[in-house]
Symmetry: D2
Subunit: 306 residues, 4 copies
C-alpha cells in the first residue's frame, strides 16, 4: 500500500514541492470537481512531489466533513499514483482529528497534515500538543506531518514539542509557515538524529529554508507559478545558490500578495490569470475589491510575471 | 412560539445573567446528559435569566454537529419554559452557521449566539463580517446575538460593524468578552436608537459594564458562583453601586482563574468544589497540574469563597 | 513645604482631574513659555486638581533634561500654589530617574509621575520593576506616582508589582492608561489597606474607573474639554451615575481621537479649535493630514462639541 | 578622512562582522574604561570589520549623553584605524539625533547607526520615519546606517520607507534585527540599484541572511564567540554553504540565550566565562537568577562551546 510504513525502519520521504491546492466552487456553491480535475491535469507537467489537499488555501474550515473526504478521493482518482497526497486532517478535538485522519487515509492520502488545534490557545502548551499529536500518530494508518501556521492559529508549536514529537515513528516531518528562519534552523538541528523532514510553508522563504536544511516546501504560490517554484527548489538542491537567489527575489512579492496580504481570494484571482480555475471563495471570504485586484496585478507584473 | 419575534416591533429582551454552561462528559468520553440535568436542577434556585449552551466554555469546538444540537434539546427539555436558551451556533462558514442556527432554533433555542468566524482573520474586515452576520440573521428563525471573544478568535468585531448590524431587525444584541470598557461604552452609545442590548462576556468587568449601560452578562463564573453573580447584577440594576463594588472586587480573582488564567479545565475543577458536575475536558484540553489546582484554590479562598 | 510628606502618617491626597499638558513650541523650535502661560491662565477657571507636566502628551521624550526641568519651574511660577504639579520624571535608567525626580522636586513638583522603563522590556519583570521603583521612591523628596502606559511602552506593570509597591510609604498611587477595567478594579481591591490611589489615564474610561474605586484621572482630553471632564468627575463622586453616563458617552470619540487614534498632533490641533495654544509637535511627530483633520473634527462634532 | 564620503560616488563599504560591544561598569557604577580597553585588545586577533558602539547591547539608554560620546572616543583611541566604528546615535527626537550623530562623528565614528524613534509608535508611519531619517542623513558628517530592532522598539521600519531611504546618498545600509528573512530578502531585492547594504542583526539567522544577499552582521554573540561568528561569515562569503550550515546550527542556542531569551545580563555573564570583562548591568537591568545562569550555561555547553 502506497505510503504505508507504520513502524517500518524507513520513513516516508516527503522531500519536494507541493501546492496546497485551492478548492473551486460551482455557481451554486458546491465543490466544482470538474474544475478541480482540470487544474490537476494542467499541473501534471510540473515536477511537483505531490499535492496538499485541505490545507489553509483549500478553505477546509468551510467544507463539511464529507466534502473534505470526497475531495481527497477525487484528487486520488485524478492523480497518477506517483504523486503524493498530503491531506489536511486537523480538527479541534483529538478524537475528530483521529477520525478524520483515518478517513483521509482510506480516501487515498499518503500522509496527513495536522494543524495545531488552537481555539483554547491559552491551554495549548507543549504538554497538551505533545499529547494530541501522539494520540493522532499512534492511531493513524499513514504518516503524520505536523503543521504550524501561526498567521491562522495565533499559536506557535513550541520547538521542544516538535523535538519530542520527531521521535515518534509515525511523525515524519513538519510544515512550518511561520517564516522564522532561526526557528526552522534550530528544528532541523535538534531533530537531525530522527530523520525528521522540514517543509517551508511558503515560497517567500523557500530558498533560505533550503539553505538551513529544509527538504521542500508547501507553497500557495505554486498553485500559480508552479514551474518557477519547482525550478527554485531545483536550484537549491543542486547548490546553484546565486541563480536561486535571483529567482527567489522575484517570487517574494507575488507570494506575499496571495498569502499574508490578500489571502485565498487573491490566490484564486491569480490562478484565473494564469489559466487555472480559481473562482470565488465561500462566504464569509469576500472577493477582492477593484483596488486590491489592481495592486495584486502590480505585485505580479513588477517582478515580470504578468 | 417562545422567542420568535421576526420583524416584530419589539425586540426579544435578553437582559440578565446567563452561565455559559460547561458540558460534562462520561468516563468513555460521551456527553453526560444525566450530569447535565443535575447541574441544571441545581441551578434552578438561582435567578438566572437563562443559559448559554455551546459557548466557549461548553467546549463546542470539540462537539460534533449532532452533539451540539442534542445538548440544546436536552437543556430545553430540562429547563422550565421561562428560562431562556441562548445557543451558540457559530461556525466558520456562513452556510454552516445558517444551518446550525436553524437546527438550534428547532432544538428549542430562544436565540442564537454567533461567534465571529476567524480562521482567515486577515480577511475578516468589517465588510466581510457585516455580510456574514446579515446573511445569518436574514434566515434565522430566532433572534441573533453577536459574539466577540478576541481571546479565542484573535479578532475584534469592529465597532462600526456592530453599529451597522444593530440596525438589523433580527440582531438583538452583543456579548462582548474582550473587557475593553471604552469599547463597550461606545457601542452602547452608538446603538442606542436601535434598542440594541449589550451583555458583558465576563464577571470580571460586570459592574463596570452595567455602569456604562450593559443589560446583563454571560459569565463563566456563574457556573460556580451563580447566586453571587446574580446578586451583583441586582445591586447594579438597583443602583446600589457601593455594595456592588465590594462584591465585584471579590469576584475578580476567581473569575480570572476560571477564564483567562486556567481556562475551561479550571472552571470544571471549581464546579466540583461547589457541588456541580465538572469532570474532565475533551482532549487536547488537559487537566490542571497539581500546582495549578493549588493556585486555583487560592484564587477562590483569598476572596473568601472557599 | 507643599507636598512633602516623607514617611509621615498621611499620604498626599492626589484625587481629582489633571490635564497632562501639551508643550507649545515657537516657530524656531524652542519651548514657547508665553503660550504655555496663556494656556495655564485659560485653565485657571476650571476646577482641576492640578496638572501633569511632562506626561506622554507633553512630548517629554523630545525635550532635553534642562527643558524638562525648566518647564516644571515655569508652570510652578504661573500656577497658584493650590494647584498640584505632578511632574513626569521617568527615564530608562534608575539613576537618571532618581536624579530627574530630585530636579523635578526642586523645580516645584508636588509629586512625580514615573513611567515604567521599557527599552529592555524582555527583562522588565516584576522583580526588576519593584527594584527600580523602590530605589526611586527611597530617595525621592516628594511622593511618587507609578505610571503604566502600555500603548507607548509595550509593557504592563504587573499587578503583583503594584501591590508590593503600594506598601512603600513614598509611593502614593498609580496612573493607569491601559484601560483594562478589570485590572484597575483588582488593583484598587488589592491595595485598599494601603491608602493607595488609582487615577484613570484617559477620559475614555473615566466613569467606569470611578465606579470601581479610582479617585481621579489624568486625561489628555482635559486639555481641550477640561470643564466637561471635571463635570464628569463631579457627577461620579456625587453618585449621579445616570447623568455621568450620558456625559461619558459623548467624551469617548473625542478622547480616542486625541489619544490612540491620532495622538499628540491631534490633541494640539483640537486645542487650537478650543482657544488654546497647540501648534506643531517636534519632529519626528508630523502634523495631521487634511483627511485626518477632517476626521478629527467629525469626532468632536458628532458628539456636539464643535 | 576615514569613512568620510559625503555625496561621493562610492559608498562606504560596511561588509563584515561587528560585535555590538557591551559597556563594562566599575563597582561604583561608572563606565569601566580599562575593562573596555582590555576587551578590545582581546578582540584584536579576531577579523572583525569593526565594532558597533552604543547598540542595544551597550546599554546606551542607560548612559548619559556625555558617556555615550566618551565611550566612542575611547574606543577610537584604542582601536587601530583600520577597524570601523559604527556608533549608535539614535534618540527619540530628530534634533537630538542630529546632534548626537555629529558628536559621534567628531568622536571618531566612521558611520552612525540610527535606531527608529518609537515612543509615539502609533504615529511613526513611513512618512514620519522617512522625514526623520532624511533630516538626520542630510546633516550627518558620516554615513548613516538604519537600525530596525522590533524586539526593543515594538515597531518595524516599513519596507517602502527603507526602499525610499536607500536612495539617499548618505544612507548606506540597514541593520535588521527582526529576523524576518522574507523581509530581508525583499529589502535586498528592492534596493539593489542603490548599492545599499544589509546587515543581519543577530547571529541566529546570519547564514540565511548571507544566502539572500546580506553583506555582514552585527551580532551580540560575537562579543563571546567572535572567532566563530567570523568563521561563519567566511564560509558564507566563500560559498561553503554545507560547512556554514553545520556551524550556524551550533550558534543558534547560545545566540538566543544572550539575546531574546535572557538579554544583556546573559551576554555579560557569558563574556565572563570566555575571558572578557562583562560584569553587571546598570539598574533596572538585574543580574540573572541562579536558575537562569544554569540554563544559560546549558545553552552554550549543549552545542559544545563550554
Amino acid at each position: 500500500w502506497r505510503g504505508f510504513r507504520e513502524y517500518s525502519n524507513k520513513r516516508l520521504d516527503i522531500a519536494g514541492i507541493y501546492p496546497p491546492i485551492a478548492t473551486p466552487f460551482t455557481q451554486d456553491g458546491g465543490v466544482d470537481y470538474r474544475s478541480l480535475d482540470e487544474n490537476l491535469q494542467k499541473y501534471s507537467t510540473i515536477p511537483f512531489r505531490g499535492f496538499v489537499v485541505q490545507g489553509s488555501n483549500g478553505e477546509y474550515p468551510y467544507l463539511t466533513t464529507e466534502e473534505r473526504i470526497q475531495v481527497v478521493k477525487r484528487v486520488r482518482q485524478t492523480l497518477p499514483q506517483a504523486k503524493m497526497i498530503m491531506a489536511g486532517s486537523g480538527c479541534e478535538s483529538t478524537l475528530a482529528t483521529i477520525q478524520m485522519s483515518e478517513s483521509m487515509a482510506s480516501a487515498g492520502a499518503d500522509c496527513v497534515l495536522v494543524v495545531t488545534p488552537c481555539f483554547y490557545r491559552g491551554r495549548m502548551n507543549s504538554s497538551a500538543l505533545i499529547h494530541h499529536y501522539t494520540q493522532v500518530a499512534d492511531s493513524c494508518p499513514v504518516p503524520v506531518v505536523l503543521y504550524n501556521v501561526p498567521a491562522n492559529t495565533s499559536l506557535d508549536l513550541p520547538v521542544d514539542a516538535v523535538v519530542r514529537l520527531s521521535q515518534h515513528p509515525n511523525i515524519v516531518g513538519l510544515k512550518d509557515s511561520g517564516g522564522d528562519i532561526t526557528r526552522i534552523s534550530l528544528i532541523v538541528h535538534k531533530t537531525r538524529t530522527q530523520d525528521f523532514q522540514v517543509l517551508a510553508g511558503s515560497a517567500g522563504f523557500l530558498m533560505a529554508a533550503y539553505s538551513v536544511g529544509a527538504v521542500g516546501g508547501v507553497c500557495a504560490l505554486a498553485n500559480v507559478l508552479g514551474q518557477q517554484v519547482c525550478e527554485l527548489a531545483d536550484l537549491c538542491t543542486s547548490g546553484q545558490w546565486d541563480k536561486a537567489k535571483e529567482l527567489q527575489y522575484r517570487l517574494i512579492e507575488p507570494n506575499t500578495a496571495v498569502t499574508r496580504k490578500f489571502g485565498v481570494p487573491a490566490l484564486k484571482q491569480a490562478m484565473e490569470w494564469f489559466g487555472y480555475h480559481g473562482g470565488v471563495c465561500r462566504s464569509p471570504l469576500q472577493p477582492l475589491s477593484e483596488v486590491e485586484i489592481k495592486e495584486l496585478r502590480t505585485d505580479f507584473s513588477s517582478d515580470g510575471w504578468l
